[in-house]
Symmetry: C2
């Protein structure tokens, strides 16, 4: 499978990230050790420090890769459609579906596994995360322009939508809420609550 010698295989950095993603998905980040990771990837234990300063740095890269996967999962062609409600529905369903299908990954992304210093930057650190959020803000703005939502701070409205999806995802994957049969009902109600709650009142 390897392209060249036993020593130097093509792209160790990407292999580490990709394999770590698989291992976290399977068993959670708590069981991810550098020893297992390097063994799985076929590298030596110290090779990892050629590409990453520490385990935390590696995890940050894995988180970044995970946000790219999430972005791909929820990216539906919302640009063409004029039906914002349907766009919100699709995005929300894909978002929660991603969390349910990848609970360990989702926990790693938001679970504060790495002590990230956000005090200084004063902005969302992860670029992929920021991009996804700004897409949501744009959609909210469009909903305002079309008269679906009342005119208000679009960032706050987007934050609230995100909070609902994030909260639902977390409660579901962590087993705080036991919903098996009527997951669709729960999601529908959450969506309609938000849509109705933000509707233009006249």
């Amino acid at each position: 499978m390897k392209n060249d010698s036993t020593y130097h295989h093509g792209n160790l950095k990407d292999s580490l990230i990709e394999t770590a993603l698989i291992m976290v998905k399977k068993n959670g980040i708590k069981s991810l050790t550098l020893r297992d990771l390097t063994k799985e990837v076929g590298a030596s234990r110290s090779a990892i420090y050629r590409h990453f300063e520490s385990k935390d740095t590696l995890i940050k890269a894995v988180i970044k890769a995970a946000f790219e996967k999430l972005d791909n999962s929820i990216s539906v062609d919302i640009a063409e459609s004029d039906d914002e409600i349907n766009s919100f529905r699709k995005i929300g369903i894909n978002y929660i579906k991603f969390a349910i299908d990848n609970p360990n990954i989702y926990r790693m992304m938001f679970g504060h596994e790495v002590g990230i210093q956000r005090e200084e930057s004063c902005d969302i650190e992860n670029e992929e995360e920021a991009i996804g959020f700004h897409k949501l803000i744009a959609l909210v703005q469009k909903a305002q322009d079309n008269g679906l939502f009342k005119e208000d701070n679009a960032i706050l409205q987007a934050t609230i939508i995100w909070s609902m999806m994030h909260g639902l995802s977390n409660l579901l994957i962590d087993g705080h809420v036991i919903i098996k049969d009527n997951l669709d009902d729960l999601f529908d109600l959450s969506l309609s609550t938000i849509i109705n709650g933000m509707k233009k009142t006249n």
Copy 2:
């Protein structure tokens, strides 16, 4: 300070839980080691296993204690009042305030630090957590009875309210949402969105 001999001090089990709570609050659960904990409490390293099967068992007890603290924080005398909106507001504010004031504790409570098996029990494991949730369900039911909320599955409605508060808390304490000046606006909008979204339509 100690009541009797240097060896046997009154209640080691409670001391461990209480001290662990303080240590987690200060530096997060990742930095909580049994060695530090027993040293802080003045016990030997192996003494911990007289009261807890493992570190995970200890953490579960600490989480339980944390839920009791949360329950005390959000418990407002909602029984007397007939103003459900005000009750929701008080509960929500206290809930988020607890999370913001105790981010490390809150993360421990919901952060899946201990791999809890919920598949078998099929119900919320933590008793304190269940109690708080059922209080919320009762309040939602009351709001339905009084005609504030539309008639629907009260459990789902309560879940959605909890999701919003939980999502907001997580995004805030983990720095995904940088809100400093207009935190009140964010909370007000989240509350009004839910109240309006669940209102009886007629």
